[in-house]
């Protein structure tokens, strides 16, 4: 296959997609049009026989049986709206991470519409939108878009914090949040005053929080929101307020270890001085002393 034929092939596909999208009409925004048309233009350069851009746009639609039904396009529209809503919710919740607690409901509605699309249920007009929307082309745009968000959701372990059916946050999570707030208010309370005071006074709250977190860690009931909140709190505690344990027992540790290190020296010295050195008894093997002496002996013998 020559590169030229490749190029024309891809060009043709782009052209098809463009035709499909443009057939849907109003979804296209003005900003998207120029790059698309340029692609089409470049493809048209390969296939000048197909006519100009204008004539392409005028080609209003494919025959009846290839078009998607109204029902499906309706579903697609709703999917788009909910998708936008979820992403709009996600982006502001990126830092500090609150993607689970803020956006679980919009994610729930998104999954709902997607499961509607992907079900084999036949909608009105005896059509299943699964095939036409999800897998009638190479790009599989709808599927890919949803899949990306699903991966994000799974990576953030949000399922651990949200009840089944995306109704609410789990009680564990809520409990953690209240404990966290308690600790943070305590921090705020003493922040302006002495740091050491903060360390002593907020210690119980902070410790409770840590214990709670440790328990959740063990049960695997954590999501990214909790992890991140805990990380931030720990950082506040250790780095900003410097409440970690100080290294203050250097002297006893050094004393004990130097004592330990001293023991082998004594051991080796004493075994060198007091232990009896092991001697080996040499043994002289019987050997023919030299050829001449052996010959002499043999001569004597015979």
């Amino acid at each position: 296959m020559s590169p030229h034929r490749h190029g024309s092939f891809w060009g043709f596909i782009v052209f098809n997609i463009y035709a499909l999208v443009s057939g849907d009409g109003g979804n296209l925004t003005a900003s998207e049009t120029p790059p698309l048309s340029s692609v089409v233009l470049s493809s048209a350069a390969f296939k000048p026989g197909l006519g100009s851009l204008l004539s392409l746009n005028l080609l209003s639609s494919f025959p009846e049986d290839l078009e998607i039904s109204d029902y499906c396009s309706q579903l697609l529209l709703i999917f788009g709206q909910r998708y936008v809503a979820y992403v709009n919710c996600l982006v502001p919740a990126a830092r500090p991470v609150k993607v689970c607690q803020n956006c679980f409901s919009s994610y729930g509605s998104l999954t709902e519409i997607f499961s509607n699309i992907s079900s084999d249920q036949v909608g009105p007009g005896n059509v299943s939108c699964r095939d036409s929307l999800l897998r009638s082309d190479r790009l599989m745009l709808v599927y890919e878009l949803f899949e990306n968000l699903k991966v994000l959701w799974e990576k953030s372990n949000c399922n651990n914090c949200i009840t089944k059916g995306f109704q609410n946050m789990t009680s564990d999570t809520l409990h953690f949040m209240t404990t966290l707030n308690q600790t943070l208010t305590c921090f705020e309370q003493y922040q302006q005053k002495n740091k050491t005071e903060l360390c002593t006074n907020c210690k119980t709250d902070y410790k409770n929080l840590n214990v709670l977190y440790g328990g959740m860690e063990k049960n695997k009931t954590m999501c990214i929101d909790i992890e991140d909140a805990m990380n931030m709190t720990r950082r506040l505690w250790s780095k900003n307020f410097n409440c970690s344990f100080p290294r203050e027992e250097t002297v006893p540790v050094i004393a004990v270890s130097s004592f330990m290190l001293f023991l082998p020296i004594i051991f080796y010295l004493s075994s060198f001085l007091h232990s009896e050195q092991k001697k080996r008894k040499l043994i002289h093997p019987n050997r023919a002393k030299s050829y001449s002496s052996l010959m002499n002996i043999q001569d004597n013998r015979s």
């Binding site: 270890s257 050195q277 092991k278 040499l282 043994i283």
Partner: protein, 799 residues
């Protein structure tokens, strides 16, 4: 001292032979074998006696002339050969009994033998895998408990103060475990100390190390290894697996246990040194394979260490044993890890998978790898030299068991102390990973949510530390941590190897190498501009590990394959090979490999692959022992008993000579008989007179010799009455009628080749008329070695 006793014994024997000699003219007659025997025997003994005394006197005078005041007792050093080591009888004894048995055996019988060889190899693999699995699980459980307790303690005391108590707790824990391990080794089975690889190397080389393949040794070895690894010493459990595999092989192939006094009446045919040694090589291979998940590496290990005599079928069987062993380990570990059927734990040490994408190497990295090989060779040589001096000191001064136990405990306590101090003063804090790759993260003074990075290296079993050095993300360790870790662990490992505990040196070497290799990679990434993209620390850690291990043990082919198999990445073959080659070349320039040093220090008569260079001028005449104690074909029982019970000359093989009828010609060689055979003959009282009187007497079979194998009773336990002493023994049927002989002018390398290739034990040196002139044994050959000043000769010593 030895000379005096020798003289005494000779004088007594000379009297005796003189007495018989007096009677000879009267009783001369060709039809009476007994009398002619007596004559010849008396004469030959007399001659030998005369020769020997002359010889001895000469030697004493020359000694006194040249080296006046030379001590007869010298401190232990490496230039000695111990008398306690004997050769294995690898050469088949083709006597008449053997031929008869072969004639009786049907075609089917040989088939069955072949099949049972396969069965034995399968069993060896299976049991070795099981032992490896047992060790692994017990170590993991016990170490888990230990680290958990110490960790909780440290956490508690970080908060309230008193960390020195945690330090003491850790040290006491370590010492307690190590004490148990050292006591069972030092008091019950000292041969189980160390990794066991030197001993197995010697065994495969053809040296019979006393008690090395006993059941008791295996038990002590397994227990000792568990104790020393759990005790936190800088040791691994991989080396001892090879020894364990060898013991399993030696035990299974015999179909009985002499220690337990159980005889299963199976595999009786394999009860001789030839077969046993073949199976032991299979066991060693199975051990390597279980330890590293490297079946091919195991086969090559046996080939490299033991291959003087090798055939394809044996190799194939050994490979089978290796495969079975790694599969067994795999299978049982998968059950232990609650993933039955998942066969992805191929060895005790698991290097983890090196994914090809992130750790691919480039052509321009090859010189870097070679440089790392050179560093590894240098560090390995340093390690070996330090360990050499330490071992000499230990042999000379720390030889009492109680001292050995104390030393091991001290090492354990110091290891804990040093580790703790390093962790305590380390400022290297790293955030906890998402998957918790750190088994026992210690926080200590780090911020919450972070852990002390020094603790992942020290506060862990060495295997895990190796794996985290290979696989942790770049940036997990900072260079200072790695540098300090390398330094301390280097000295700790060097100090630990050679203690009276069973433990291997593989893992500590890998760990040291991985630490400095990773350091190398980090520095590389920081000094080069593009380095951060290709200088993946894990890759350099692997190369460093290979270099360090190669620099210490100096294995070549097998180690390359083991490393490649353990990493599971065939594309690392070339760099690993280059690294190992360089490290061996560089290291050999300074000092030998660690195992060879220890073999030398144990005064083992070890035959290397080749005779020392520049030894062609030495002939068999200079090499051989002479004169030789010969026996007549029909010999008086009393004489045999006397010869065997002579403690000063603990000979094992006796040339059998026959007198040419009727004249004064010296006797000619007609065969060779072994001490063990003579003892069995004496025990069963196979005397000419008794055979005549009791016609129904059962004929001695090869089975009787096998039943006595391998622990032939000492001569003292065999009672021979005064009447029986006068009886005669006909050795015709039992001696090896066609022993290997060489003429006197044969050069040393030729003799050496015969020994090495045929696995000989005795080589008779004859003159042109087939008269026995001398006898070459392993010790005669092994005493020549190439030293710094040309060819040097080792001295024989009693150890």
């Amino acid at each position: 001292m030895a000379n005096i006793t020798k003289k005494v014994s000779w004088s007594s024997r000379a009297d005796e032979s003189g007495a018989t000699g007096e009677g000879t003219p009267l009783l001369n007659g060709s039809e009476q074998p007994r009398h002619s025997r007596q004559l010849s025997e008396g004469r030959s003994i007399f001659q030998i006696g005369r020769l020997s005394t002359v010889d001895l006197e000469e030697e004493i005078t020359s000694d006194e002339d040249s080296l006046r005041g030379r001590p007869k007792e010298i401190p232990h050093n490496e230039k000695l050969l111990s008398l306690k080591y004997e050769s294995l009888d690898y050469d088949n004894i083709e006597n008449q009994l053997f031929l008869e048995e072969e004639r009786r055996m049907s075609h089917m019988g040989f088939r069955c033998l072949e099949i049972s060889r396969w069965v034995v190899c399968g069993l060896i693999g299976f049991l070795t895998g099981l032992i490896a699995c047992f060790i692994d699980i017990v170590v993991e459980e016990l170490a888990g408990i230990k680290y958990q307790v110490v960790k909780e303690n440290i956490e508690k005391f970080t908060e309230v103060g008193g960390l020195s108590i945690s330090l003491i707790l850790w040290a006491v824990f370590n010492s307690a475990f190590v004490m148990v391990g050292a006591i069972i080794v030092a008091y019950f089975e000292p041969i189980a100390a160390g990794s066991g690889i030197p001993q197995i190397k010697c065994y495969l080389n053809g040296v019979k190390i006393p008690r090395v393949v006993r059941l008791k040794t295996l038990l002590v070895k397994v227990g000792g290894v568990i104790c020393s690894v759990v005790g936190g010493l800088a040791v691994g459990k991989e080396g001892p697996m090879i020894h364990s595999g060898a013991v399993v092989a030696a035990g299974v192939s015999q179909g009985r246990s002499t220690s337990l006094k159980r005889d299963f009446k199976i595999f009786e045919y394999f009860r001789r040194d030839t077969e046993k040694r073949d199976f032991v090589s299979a066991g060693a291979a199975a051990g390597v394979s279980a330890a590293f998940g490297a079946p091919v590496g195991g086969v090559l290990f046996s080939l490299e260490e033991g291959a003087s005599f090798w055939n394809q079928m044996l190799t194939w069987r050994i490979f089978f044993a290796s495969m079975i062993s790694t599969f067994t380990l795999n299978f049982f570990l998968s059950i232990y890890h609650n993933k039955p059927g998942d066969l992805s734990n191929p060895g005790l040490i698991n290097f983890g998978r090196f994914e090809t994408e992130s750790v691919a190497y480039n052509l321009y990295e090859i010189p870097l790898f070679i440089a790392m090989g050179a560093i590894g060779g240098l560090l390995g040589a340093l390690f070996n030299v330090l360990n050499y001096w330490l071992t000499i000191f230990r042999i000379r001064y720390v030889h009492r068991p109680c001292l050995q136990v104390m030393e091991a405990m001290l090492v354990a306590a110091v290891t804990a102390t040093v580790s703790f101090t390093m962790i305590y003063f380390s400022n290297d804090c790293q955030p906890l990973g998402p998957e918790h790759t750190e088994e026992y993260p210690l926080q200590l003074f780090c911020a919450d949510g972070e852990y002390n990075s020094m603790a992942t290296a020290f506060f862990n079993t060495p295997e895990r530390s190796v794996r985290s050095l290979f696989h942790n993300q770049p940036g997990t360790y900072n260079p200072l941590t790695l540098g300090l870790f390398t330094l301390t662990y280097f000295f700790l490992a060097c100090w630990t190897y050679g203690l009276a505990v069973s433990a291997g040196v593989f893992i500590p070497s890998l760990l040291i190498g991985a630490a400095w290799g990773r350091l190398f990679g980090i520095l590389l990434a920081s000094i080069t501009t593009t380095g951060s993209t290709w200088a993946v620390p894990g890759k350099y850690a692997l190369m460093g590990a290979a270099a360090q291990l190669g620099g210490i043990v100096r294995m070549t082919l097998s180690l390359t394959v083991i490393m490649v198999e353990a990493t599971g990445n065939i594309s690392y073959g070339l760099p690993i090979m280059l690294v190992l080659m360089t490290s061996k070349i560089v290291g050999d320039y300074f000092v030998e490999g660690l195992y060879d040093i220890h073999i030398k220090l144990q005064s083992v008569p070890f035959l290397h692959w080749e005779a020392p260079a520049t030894s062609h001028w030495l002939t068999a005449r200079e090499v051989m022992s002479s004169p030789v104690t010969c026996l007549n074909r029909i010999e008086k029982v009393g004489t045999i008993v006397d010869i065997l019970s002579n403690t000063s000359t603990n000979h094992n093989g006796f040339p059998v000579v026959v007198q040419v009828a009727g004249n004064d010609e010296p006797a000619k060689l007609c065969g060779l008989i072994l001490r063990s055979q003579l003892i069995v003959l004496l025990k069963h009282k196979v005397f000419v007179e008794l055979a005549r009187s009791r016609l129904t007497h059962r004929k001695l079979q090869l089975k009787d010799f096998r039943d006595a194998y391998p622990r032939f009773p000492p001569i003292q336990s065999i009672h021979v009455s005064q009447d029986e002493r006068e009886c005669m023994m006909d050795l015709m049927e039992f001696m090896n009628a066609t022993p290997y002989t060489v003429p006197q002018e044969t050069s040393l390398p030729r003799v050496f080749k015969l020994f090495r290739a045929l696995g000989l034990r005795h080589l008779v040196v004859v003159d042109d008329e087939n008269r026995v002139v001398g006898l070459v044994t392993r010790k005669d050959l092994a005493r020549y070695h190439l030293g710094k000043h040309g060819l040097e000769e080792l001295q024989l010593a009693q150890t």
